[in-house]
């Protein structure tokens, strides 16, 4: 593939595309809901109650947001630690997605916690070190900082701060290792959050290995998200990509697909071991068991096989489908742990289902993310290399 006319001619920008109009609507609704949330309280916009203190703002915005932002540490680790230079072009988009993902998680938390201005408290005022949530908070805070630093070179290139950029680039390895450590810790602790409530989470989802499950599933969630997001970017931002990025893209998809298939098989294996350790086989015959099998076979084993077939046959389409499927599967798993199988013993009348406003705020957060991503990829060297810094790796 070659791309002529590399010089980007500033065409008159068309503001009235369908997607832009949709974005505008979602953001406007979000603004109204935000106003309601902070003037009338959470009760006015959510279906949360005393039995169900956590809803989709935690189940999706936090749990899925963090898991799907795992592409940052996996890609940068693959490129900088494992030395797989051919993925280099995927690192920047992945880091950006991760940074945005984490930033949005923190943004969304402002809606969910009662007193958002106290979010720094656990780190700076009163440290509840026995809490898994403290571990999550501290690591997310530190990792967000790391991601920010990892992302600055792109901004510096855009702004032309050469010296600063050089300093940060020298720190790459250190930052990457730090990022992997922090990611390991908080990805796993998100699962471990639920280990304190064995009486509320259905035995098929509760496990002493919940933190391990969350960590490993976050790895392939990250890989899948990189593929998925790459696919989306290719569809919409093709003109922003340089030759290197385009040339490496297929290799990234194949390589990541293969890696994801292995890790997912491993994940499936340890889930089965977990089932055996707790001797929960008999639950498989119940309705919950059927739902569990939907998750495990329909959304882990099936995409894993699809990935491996795709990687073997060099079939990019398969891999792309598998990536989207896996992303859905991760969302399903996080929903199951935090909402569906949580409080499973309560009567149906006491169970939680999100309100329209909650879904609205969640959509709002997602669209804020997409908009910022579009802005950054339009302005900064994310999907292409800055001409001044070519051949630097």
């Amino acid at each position: 593939m070659s791309q002529e006319n590399k010089a980007i001619q500033p065409e008159p920008y068309n503001w009235f595309t369908p997607f832009n109009i949709l974005t505008a609507v979602v953001l406007a609704v979000g603004a109204v809901l935000t106003f309601m949330r902070f003037t009338q309280g959470m009760g006015a916009v959510t279906n949360l109650d005393n039995n169900n203190p956590w809803g989709i703002w935690i189940g999706f915005d936090l749990l899925c947001g963090v898991a799907l932002a795992a592409g940052g540490f996996t890609t940068s680790a693959a490129c900088y630690i494992f030395g797989l230079k051919r993925f280099h072009s995927a690192v920047r988009p992945a880091i950006l997605t991760a940074f945005l993902g984490y930033a949005l998680v923190v943004f969304a938390l402002h809606y969910d916690v009662g007193r958002p201005w106290k979010l720094p408290y656990p780190i700076f005022v009163s440290q509840g070190t026995s809490s898994l949530l403290f571990e999550v908070g501290l690591c997310v805070f530190l990792y967000l900082t790391v991601l920010f630093i990892e992302w600055t070179p792109a901004a510096f290139e855009w702004l032309g701060f050469k010296k600063l950029r050089t300093i940060v680039v020298r720190l790459t390895l250190l930052l990457t290792i730090f990022g992997v450590v922090l990611s390991t810790l908080h990805q796993s602790s998100l699962g471990a959050l639920f280990m304190i409530a064995p009486s509320k989470l259905h035995p098929l989802w509760y496990s002493g290995y919940l933190h391990v499950y969350f960590f490993i599933s976050a790895i392939f969630a990250g890989l899948s998200m990189v593929i998925f997001e790459g696919t989306m970017a290719h569809k919409w931002l093709h003109h922003k990509m340089d030759d290197t990025h385009l040339a490496e893209a297929d290799g990234v998809v194949l390589g990541f697909g293969k890696a994801a298939s292995f890790i997912m098989m491993g994940y499936f294996g340890i889930k089965v071991i977990g089932l055996a350790v707790d001797n929960n086989w008999h639950y498989l015959g119940t309705g919950w068991g059927a739902w569990y099998l939907v998750e495990m076979i329909g959304f882990v084993l099936f995409p894993a096989i699809l990935y491996s077939v795709g990687a073997r046959e060099k079939n990019l389409k398969f891999i792309r489908i598998a990536a989207a499927w896996t992303v859905l599967g991760i969302v399903l798993n996080r929903f199951n742990v935090s909402l569906v199988a949580f409080n499973y013993h309560l009567p149906a009348a006491d169970r939680y289902f999100p309100s329209l406003s909650e879904i609205g705020i969640t959509l709002f957060v997602v669209f804020v993310g997409i908009t910022v991503y579009r802005f950054i990829t339009a302005k900064m060297p994310i999907l292409y290399e800055h001409p001044e810094y070519k051949d630097e790796h």
Partner: protein, 371 residues
């Protein structure tokens, strides 16, 4: 084994090693037996008549405002309730499992059980909950961020939240009347209970009292003091004449204190922090070294190829040179010859015609030169 495969397995394996369930206890490495001489309350549901006086007293002590239906309206008991932001304690009525002439409804009171090792305190990331030496689990609103993880963690589903407060929402729950205890008074509910179904005292004495009652009237009681061991023990203890799960109290909570449930995951933190950088740096070094060796090999091969090419070129050049020198020499010789011949001719011509004209010169063709 390809590198990718290896990495996949490595990740899985390492993940598994960090997840080894440790028997260490979170936040401390010994089992906390509760503060000595801490207080508790014994609720004997066989004595409870469901008069809701305790709810009323609680409401007054904590200034919770007047409820929708007055406390002497006992029809409220017909619907199952839980604690919420406006009621720190509620009494529920349970119809007997086998209705008969001799069986009457059983009443059970719900409020914070003030665990020995509270799940809420273990879960709180700003230490807004504290197990006090009196036995009360108290909550500090000024620290609370409002994440509601305490509500997720509480096995008894006790804490409630003021969801409708936009700016300063807070968690609400029974305080065991901590301020009153400090003044030497009884908790409000205990003080008012007409049947003394609630007894306040030192937890260890209450356990003895509970077993004394069970042993004195074994037919009247289930042989179990609820709260003695549940979730590591609670300050609030219960006696019942019917199985506890029939009066809305879960019997499947186990005896593990909440902090122990997450201690394994917390124990993985130092392992990861210590092990990961070392491993990853190792992996980096291996990858780098691999790259380096590959580079060296490549460089050597390139050098060899270049050397060979240079030799070849040099040979050709030498040959060319030879050829050229020869040609030059020939040319020179020719020139000389020509010159000589011309000179001879000239001389001849000059000699022959001293009055004749000179002819034009032919420049010799020069070969390419090396630089």
């Amino acid at each position: 084994m390809s590198r990718r495969k290896f990495l996949g397995c490595l990740t899985a394996a390492l993940g598994a090693t960090t997840g080894v369930r440790s028997i260490a206890h979170a936040a401390s490495n010994k089992h906390f037996e509760g503060y000595p001489d801490s207080f508790g309350v014994l609720h004997d549901s066989t004595k409870c008549i469901g008069c809701r006086q305790c709810e009323k007293a609680c409401n007054e002590v904590n200034e919770l405002g007047s409820p929708e239906k007055p406390f002497d309206d006992l029809k409220v008991l017909d619907t199952r309730r839980r604690t919420d932001e406006a009621a720190y304690t509620v009494v529920n009525k349970f119809e007997p499992a086998q209705p008969g002439p001799k069986s009457s409804p059983v009443f059970a009171k719900i409020q914070c059980n003030h665990c020995q090792e509270p799940a809420c305190a273990s879960a709180c990331f700003v230490k807004a909950f504290k197990k006090d030496k009196t036995g009360a689990v108290i909550y500090d609103e000024s620290l609370c961020v409002g994440c509601r993880y305490c509500m997720v963690a509480c096995p008894f589903n006790v804490p409630a939240y003021t969801y409708n407060d936009p700016i300063t929402p807070k968690v609400t729950k029974c305080t065991m009347c901590h301020p009153r205890i400090l003044e030497g008074k009884l908790p409000g509910c205990v003080e008012i209970c007409p049947k003394e179904a609630l007894v306040f005292g030192k937890r260890k004495d209450l356990i003895k009292l509970a077993w004394k009652r069970i042993n004195e009237k074994p037919d009247n009681y289930i042989q179990h003091v609820y709260g003695e061991h549940e979730m590591g023990g609670t300050s609030w203890l219960y006696l019942s004449g019917v199985p506890f799960d029939q009066i809305g109290m879960r019997e499947d909570l186990g005896v593990t204190p909440a902090p122990q449930l997450t201690s394994g995951a917390l124990a993985a933190v130092p392992i990861v922090v210590g092990l990961w950088p070392v491993l990853l740096t190792g992996v980096y070094a291996i990858a780098q070294r691999k790259d380096k060796i590959a580079k060296e090999e490549k460089d050597a091969a390139v050098k060899e190829a270049i050397d060979q090419a240079t030799d070849e070129m040099n040979k050709q050049l030498a040959q060319l040179k030879d050829k050229m020198t020869k040609e030059q020499q020939n040319a020179v010789a020719n020139e000389v010859k020509k010159a000589l011949e011309e000179a001879a001719k000239k001389a001849e011509a000059e000699a022959a015609a001293a009055d004749g004209e000179g002819g034009s010169e032919d420049a010799p063709e020069a070969g390419k030169e090396d630089k």
